[in-house]
Assembly symmetry: D2
Homo-oligomer: 395 residues x 4
């Protein structure tokens, strides 16, 4: 089988995750292409070399452009903050490299539109781009989508999406790049709300057509420095620790309408104390409902309105059966998967698509659709929560 030689830009949390996925996918999936962990790029050579060794990459560059320039790289995997996505992705696609770009696609609609245009041009030449909304590949969410698509919910009426974390509840959590609008684009909205938006549109097959929103930042200044752990960190903070301004939202709330008449309510927050990674999605239809919570990621709740009348109740489906999406590639029934499997499924599907010379999903255009919702949310919030419609994202 031919190889797909991967060059990855960035090697922090997401880089470690993608590396695991590239290493692991070929051992569990029959793939037309065999991934090679060819090179990573990181500005600091020593740091990049240490990362390459730990994560299993063969070589190192200190400049993403150098990575793109190499002839022995087929795909650029972008794991850097959002402000760099457009430049890297566009250069890579124009150089004929496939691209896997972390979400959110960009920090503005303008960038995302340009990326989409370049991606669609490249696709005409067999060079493909994909955006990393990995939650789509969680078996339970993929099953949820299949159930909706199969008509088992009837007409979709309501969506409720929450993405609740708490690592900013502590007012002394340090000021990382995720709290700097110049790098991250937005706060909870773009970081985790983007997942909810993509998942809601993916699962229902419906686009959001308008929103009304409210954004809030509870802690306006945070200590610079401190020990970084996980997403947040524990500030090693004294009264003297200098503080800098938080320029993004802690929490984003919005109501939404979908084409076809469904309505939804969304909440993304990093200050819901006690909720660690509660990415929840519920869809109510005329015949059935489905509900998911990432903290219980191996389960899907399904209410079947056609069950015997005395036996109706949410089915707590342990999504680990051979008949469930992805699950048959792993362990026996009941032996659950973890967070990283969504990423492994993502590269497995990507490799399959590329091997078949077909476009992987979600496309940049799909991700542009999410970007437009993010922008509309910010516009509405800045404008007295006024209803704000979403421009059509279809080509």
């Amino acid at each position: 089988r031919p190889a797909l030689r991967v060059g990855m830009v960035g090697h922090a949390f997401m880089g470690a995750m993608h590396s695991h996925a590239w290493r692991t996918a070929p051992h569990f999936f029959e793939l037309p292409l065999v991934p090679e962990l060819a090179a990573i790029a990181g500005r600091n050579r020593a740091g990049a070399e240490m990362a390459a060794q730990r994560m299993g990459w063969a070589s190192v560059e200190t400049d993403w452009q150098a990575l793109i320039d190499r002839d022995d790289i087929d795909l650029i995997d972008i794991c850097t903050p959002g402000n760099t996505h457009a430049e890297i992705a566009i250069a890579a696609l124009r150089a004929g490299k496939h691209v896997l770009c972390e979400k959110p696609l960009a920090n503005s609609v303008a960038e995302a539109e340009q990326m989409t245009a370049v991606a669609e041009e490249a696709a005409a030449h067999g060079v493909f781009a994909m955006c990393g909304y990995s939650y789509r590949r969680t078996p339970a969410l993929a099953l949820m989508k299949r159930m909706v698509a199969d008509g088992r919910l009837g007409t979709v009426r309501q969506v409720r999406a929450q993405y609740l974390q708490d690592w900013l509840s502590d007012a002394n959590a340090p000021l990382t790049w995720r709290l700097d609008r110049a790098k991250s684009g937005s706060g909870a909205l773009g970081d985790i709300g983007a997942h909810s938006i993509d998942a809601a549109q993916f699962v229902t097959g419906l686009n959001i057509t308008g929103v009304s929103a409210l954004l809030e930042t509870f802690t306006k200044e945070r200590p610079m420095g401190g020990e970084f752990v996980g997403l947040g960190g524990h500030g090693d903070v004294t009264a003297d620790t200098p503080r800098g301004p938080v320029t993004v939202d802690d929490a984003a709330l919005f109501t939404a309408r979908f084409d076809g008449g469904a309505i939804g309510v969304f909440e993304a927050t990093r200050t819901a104390l006690g909720r660690k990674n509660a990415m929840r999605l519920e869809v109510n239809g005329s015949l059935g409902s489905v509900a998911f919570d990432f903290e219980d990621m191996n389960f899907l709740q399904f209410y079947d309105g056609t069950d015997a009348e005395d036996a109706r109740g949410f089915h707590r489906i342990l999504v680990t059966e051979p008949v469930h999406p992805y699950a048959g590639h792993w362990w026996p029934t009941g032996h659950g998967l973890g967070y990283e499997h969504g990423f492994t499924h993502q590269v497995a599907d990507l490799l399959t698509a590329l091997g078949n010379k077909t476009a992987p999903t979600p496309s940049f255009r799909d991700a542009l659709g999410v970007q437009r919702v993010l922008a509309a949310v910010e516009d509405s919030a800045a404008n007295n929560s006024q209803w704000t419609t979403i421009e059509e994202s279809k080509p």
Copy 2:
């Protein structure tokens, strides 16, 4: 102990519930006044007499005015649709009768303001009025409020309130008075959203200062007639069954701000298939969080941010200990209560307040505060979800 002679107007679902509460409270609470189920009023004498017998009332009137005119009645208990609340309550208070009025207080802010003015005048003469937001007396919700008041959550930041039912998911559910705006005032918003608003303000001790809202009615016409069961009913519907217009919302979504800086998101719906009476309230503070779901009404979830670092997680508190609100009056630890106990606690607290010649809560002014939020939600929804501030309800 002296008696409190009760006259009740209306004898449907809520009338049955209140009757149970009046009958039961004195057997479990030490009360300064002993309630007497003196009389009920219902337009149809035969129906009222049957109800009186089934529910344990001593006599019957066919006109609520006649009930108010009787000298042997001390309190009027109003269990009729919202369009009649103002007239009955005002007449009763002016006649020197205490009033317990079902929620929502009225069908408009204007009515609620007038009722509040009359109630406050009556209170000056020792005649008291209370609005029946009974969920406040669910032990878990009362514990939730106590925890917030005791500072165990720190500063309140976020509220998420859902009240999810599904009895209108069926497009053939019949057109009852609850779907007729002239009688009910509004749909899910006033019927169940009002509970969420009251509970959120009660538990946090904070007032909602503004909202942005969206209302939706999925099924615009419903069959007239059919068999009524519970809140909804199964329409015995054919193609010929005449249909009438639904004039209220099926679902109401809104975001909110509270005084003091907290934000919230609310959803009230009767079309969330599979959710039967999921009145949920979660409050996140800087030190802790609490979460409640009426479908598990005997439990309170409490996240204590001061627990040992490796032991943090929501405590699933079974709220049946002597140390918990109301619980010590009932069964041993672990032997849970049901829906009706909130109503029994309500009349127990009311009888205690009246016996002590003090004002019971929630007052009509508290209920007027809820009414103002309901009105702001409707205004915002009618006005492109634009941010709508709530007029101060404090005297």
Copy 3:
């Protein structure tokens, strides 16, 4: 409708509960007989009078024999410790009074056999006896039985029953009558294990044919006196507080075989710290499974092996629909019931049976069957856990 005049012996926890049931049943059920709370018997007149007033009884006797001697009593309701059941029940039945006797039926098989013989003789003359295994009337357990009886589980293979409480975890909980073998017969075994045995036999329709058991008492001596609260109490204990011997088990564990080939495992304990009233029962069949936990008493978990392959999972049924046992007599869908409703259903079914001149269930013979299992458990535990068969209880 004719009256059924009730005389109740004992007025502690169970007396308060039965009183509530007698008062409440006629308001929610159409009954052929109207219960009258005629009299209670209690040794201390002052205490009995206070109880009568609080619980709603018309008169008082200080001797249970006096109660039986009265012509104006139709039914004797026995709410005293187990050591008194046989004498009172036999006297009452011989005097032509119907009997409702709290569980366990007696403190020995010999007593239970005698009671059963007398009850069956009385039944021939239209005088009926019932034992108060009230959990049978919890809607979810009644639904569970119906599902098994309807064949929806296929062949029953496995039963797992736990009844977990924790009020004896505290080594200073006081020495009450429930810890005195002379009065209570046994400890966790007879008090709560008896419920599990009855429920398992009731739900499956199968009899236990043999057991192997282990009993344990962790705290051998407890303070005499102290404040009694709920089932246990908080001992107001110092080093000087005299202690007395605990003569019953804290925990009872046993395995079992049922006729027809099913097997089961049972645990009853009052020292499972954190479990308040976790009366759990799970039944696995060849086609489906059901599971119940009294701490979530309004829910039944049902696994339907015939569901679509990708949708299998335990249905979390909120047992509050009109189609569910008992539920239609109460509140709308989703508005849950509490512990006391099982008792209200018990007297409703009893009054219906008596009105129809038919035998209520569970009969004394059913309760004798439980008694035989309790005895076999004690025998096995005393005999190196050796397998101990249960003598046939069928007439």
Copy 4:
């Protein structure tokens, strides 16, 4: 860093799992030795070669003895059925190879004793052996043990362990090696009950001293052949399909005593329809309780009897914090792990121990202790459930 060259015997389900662990551990843990996937042995060369390629092994042998004979192998990883463990492990240890042996250690106490003797002799020469009770390395179970060891539960009183699966509920599931006593030693008892026994002893730090047991096989004959999927498979069965005898238990139930006075109840079954991999363990102490269910493997339930009286309830701890065992090596807070992580932790701990020239745990002696309980369970079941004591396993 020096390499540890691994040779693995067997390449089915467990082989795939161990391969993943060997490949993955060095990317997430700082290890003193770097594992090399040197060779696997499988009787069929073509099958072994395919497996080697899929699982990432460098070479293949068709005979386990050949693997042991190779100089370039440091450790033998035994992933074959239990009847082969003793022979392979003893040969490997005598050849100076470290051994990782899947559980249960052997098919008889005699074999396990011999293996332990050989292992202890080898250890004196720096050659170490470990048994693969991987559940010990699930973060929540490891936290459970730490909490008990730290005294946070006080004195351990009760253990309840269930391991519930359902892949033998279908009477047409095929007759695999797991149902053949000659290969597997026993059924649910040794396959999954062994995990419960090891986990109970590991978590509590107490040894089981005696048991009383019952074993049952519901389906005595099963089709030979059929498609194997996961642990069980779907038999492609007709009336003509020949059936063979099932020679092991479907379900094993037993009560137990631990040294120090605690008692326990155990159930292992493969016919609990609807339960997929419910490996549950609850421990009740005098001060606290902990409960675990592998179907929710990222959570630990902890009841802290020293919490504020009104806040007591099981803490639902999401065991993904840096302060929790193993969790800090993976993803941010709230991003859960899966089944395979226990195996990755197992080899990480093993490599660390070997690098430090210390003995890894669980040792063969620990596993011999489990074996003795398994044997006692079978003895008791064969002997009328009579109490059967466990011979001391300590050296």
